[in-house]
Symmetry: C2
Subunit: 322 residues, 2 copies
């Protein structure tokens, strides 16, 4: 069964990849070059995949349009990555030079805008007001999330509730929208659309928490470990550690986070403080809780190998190493 699910997911991912390569991004070679650089840089295609699986779980089989539509979520995602890189003055992205490092901030901002516009153009070609509303509401939340994140970047008083608000907007909303649009595309009932939307929302929360955990615990590629720490970014492991730390630990951790040009040793000390105060272990538990919630929302969805795949992805999220 597990093998069957893995095979199905692999097959869907390969379809998505084929469509990504087949569809022309632009008539302009330069736009293509920058877009393809970010689009084919090892993305996991989780958003298109969830869109396709959600649609198929509700019986959709009009393949071409489904795959083409699912790509808009990848375009939206990489558009935010391009703007993020400029905002963060990033040097690297997924172990390669960041686009801004090759083509400059100007082109990176504008190609981000282009991919965003392209995604919305694909969405509007469906002529479905419900889909359009879901997507524009999502991009609205996403842009709010990016701004909130910027404002709270080094806010050591950031509460878990505010952190959740930010990652909901920044990450979970788009993952939720991918599932929701898949459900709408296959003509699901409004309660099925909501269920899959809520599945995606909780999955997205877990996804981001794991992402923030991997920044400390290390990913398989290992390239960017400690990036959030060096930027002084306050993420869930830090919030939960600060929450129960002694005054001394609290002050030390905050000092380390606020330090500019922090060393590998600083990172190790911070790591120990967070670990000692249960920051990692409790973050993982929160992520688990979200995936449990996500799976709960699949109850209403009819049984199928597609639904099993959505279950599988919820578990996989917790185990992912990159």
């Amino acid at each position: 069964m597990r093998e069957e699910i893995k095979r199905l997911i692999k097959e869907e991912l390969s379809q998505i990849e084929t469509w990504l390569q087949r569809l022309c991004i632009s008539q302009h070679p330069f736009i293509n070059q920058v877009s393809e650089y970010i689009l084919f840089s090892g993305g996991k295609r989780i958003r298109p995949l969830l869109c396709v699986l959600s649609a198929k779980a509700l019986g959709e089989d009009s393949k071409d349009q489904l795959y083409q539509t699912s790509l808009l979520f990848e375009y939206l995602h990489v558009a935010t990555l391009l703007h993020d890189d400029v905002v963060d003055s990033a040097e690297f992205r997924r172990g390669r030079k960041a686009a801004r490092n090759l083509w400059g901030n100007q082109a990176t901002i504008l190609v981000g805008d282009y991919l965003y516009a392209k995604a919305l153009k694909i969405a509007s070609s469906l002529k479905n007001p419900n889909i359009m509303e879901a997507i524009t509401e999502t991009t609205f939340l996403m842009s709010e999330g990016e701004i909130l994140q910027l404002l709270h970047l080094d806010d050591t008083y950031l509460s878990e509730a505010s952190y959740n608000e930010i990652i909901y907007r920044k990450t979970a909303a788009l993952i939720s929208c991918s599932c929701k649009v898949g459900a709408i595309l296959s003509g699901g009932s409004s309660s099925q659309v909501d269920s899959l939307g809520n599945y995606g929302l909780n999955l997205g929360m877990a996804f981001q928490i794991i992402d923030d955990l991997l920044d400390y615990l290390g990913s398989e590629t290992g390239k960017d470990r400690g990036k959030d720490f060096r930027e002084g970014k306050i993420t869930l492991p830090v919030i939960l550690a600060l929450d129960s730390a002694s005054e001394t630990d609290r002050e030390r951790l905050i000092t380390l986070l606020k330090k500019r040009d922090s060393s590998q040793e600083d990172f190790q000390i911070a790591f120990s403080i967070i670990e000692k105060n249960g920051g990692f272990q409790r973050s993982l538990q929160k992520a688990k809780d979200f995936t449990m919630q996500a799976k709960e929302f699949l109850k209403e969805i009819p049984d199928s190998l597609y639904k099993d795949s959505l279950f599988f992805i919820a578990d996989f999220i917790l185990e992912r190493k990159k």
Copy 2:
């Protein structure tokens, strides 16, 4: 009659201004602060105005929704200004410090994204696929235009046709869309929608040509005269001058445009070369031709004071000094 038109336009502009001030941009004080800074920095509100007048010329009178919808074009416009300022590393905008100079590039990019998302959210709330398609096609063209402009920034071989392609995407498409959406909102026939769209398109072309002319000839505020020249930006007056200049003039003008940190004297010499070769006078003629075309497209629209106002604006564009 002329006074009546002026009064009508003034009244509509004041309604638009009231709605702009009344509608809350965001729940977040910071987003409001940056948004309001750019929104209330002396914009001419030409896009909302054209949307309202186009709708009313076809009989629309459901006032509140019309004004609220018209604002989305101002939001889209200022969103591009914010990104432009980052792309151009602008110090000033409309005689005030550029937003990026007060809040940094990061917030400026993200609030630009926010206003863009806000505009599309307003659009999708209308639940009208035709409006949505017009707007997403426009934002797509606009982002293409911005990239083309960046790529051709100092391309002294830029043809008039390529220049037209760029300003069509960068400026005329949105002005056209404002008119078109006004027409759709009031239930105009598809030929009326096209007519008003084409009116806006030609008007937008003239608008941008005049903008590029004012960069040389000076605006009332006079603040930014010569900005395009100093950036080495190739605009219509330059293209037309290069087109008919002697080899010597051509080389001198190109050298001056390519020079970094050019002086006021350089500007004066460039100015003389362009003037001598008819660059300004022929650009003005091109703008006039576009406004003639624009007015031509109003033929099909029933007579009214609103239609007269659209005529008036076409003439006014040519005379504007800022």
